[in-house]
Amino acid sequence: MAVCIAVLTKDNCPLYIASDPAEDGLKMHFLVHTSIDVIEEKLNSATAANDPRDLYLGQLYPNEDYRIYGYVTNTKIKIVVIESITNPLKDGDARQVFSKVHSGYISLVCNPFYSPGDTITSQPFLNTVTSLMRGKAIA
């Protein structure tokens, strides 16, 4: 079950950060912020351990309480998902979460009433993320 999902632009501006109310919101923001460096490093490293053409970056860095996963789209939008160690997602599940968030973001961009770069306030997107965080069965 994810405790935090964040979407950042190519310039690392947060478009959307939502965390589980049970967690410390500020700590989540901080973890997302520190993961930006790791993402950039992974993107720039010429000898990537995993397939350099894959959009999913896998686990970003180790932390005692949380696992942090990253994903960067071809349009340089970064998605970060943090999940607690007590309730871990399997690798396949993490990819599905990112895939759903990405699809939600694509629907948002195709919405003519949304200007790219604005903070995300669209209800369908918020609903998608909330249901992912609650760990509803990933259909």
Binding site: K10, P52, R53, D54, L55, V72, T73, N74, T75, K76, H102, S103, Y105, I106, V109, C110, P112, P116
Partner: protein, 157 residues
């Protein structure tokens, strides 16, 4: 993916140009069409690159535009791509879709520029979403051959 008949969009495109000419004046048609194309290109790329592997190099991005984007919009690939390796690319299409029904005399060359404006906007929006802001200009030497010149705003790596 189902395709609406080509004539539907051709007709709409033509009316868009006529509308802007009547409401904003001839000088502004190209600008208006480009702006519309920009947002369309932006969304199109967002949607299209979801399943694609990561595209890294500038050249690869432009090649993607020539092949996949052109395929999506015109159902054919661009015919030629030239570069001077310093950030300028020229995409050539020998049978530009919106000009295939225009007669091949010089009489319509100037008006022809208005028909390429939307496409230039689409390319500009697409590249901008890839993170490569650029300026796009179109040149019609002989209808229906169109050359679209992209000048990347940063030097290519």
């Amino acid at each position: 993916m189902t395709y609406a008949p080509d004539s539907l969009f051709d007709g709409l495109h033509h009316q868009m140009i006529k509308y802007f000419e009547e409401t904003h004046g001839r000088e502004n048609v190209i600008q208006c069409m480009e702006k519309m194309g920009y947002r369309v290109g932006f969304s199109l790329i967002e949607k299209a690159t979801k399943e694609e592997a990561r595209v890294k190099e500038d050249v690869d991005i432009v090649k993607y535009i020539c092949k996949d984007l052109w395929n999506m919009v015109f159902r054919k690939q661009a015919d030629n791509l030239k570069t001077n390796h310093t950030g300028t690319f020229v995409i050539q299409d020998n049978r530009f879709r919106f000009l295939t029904r225009v007669s091949q005399s010089d009489q319509y060359k100037q008006r022809g520029e208005m028909y390429v404006a939307f496409t230039c906007g689409v390319v500009k929006g697409a590249l901008s979403n890839f993170g490569l802001p650029c300026s796009v200009a179109a040149e019609i030497e002989m209808i229906p051959t169109v050359k679209v010149t992209l000048t990347l705003q940063q030097p290519a790596n």
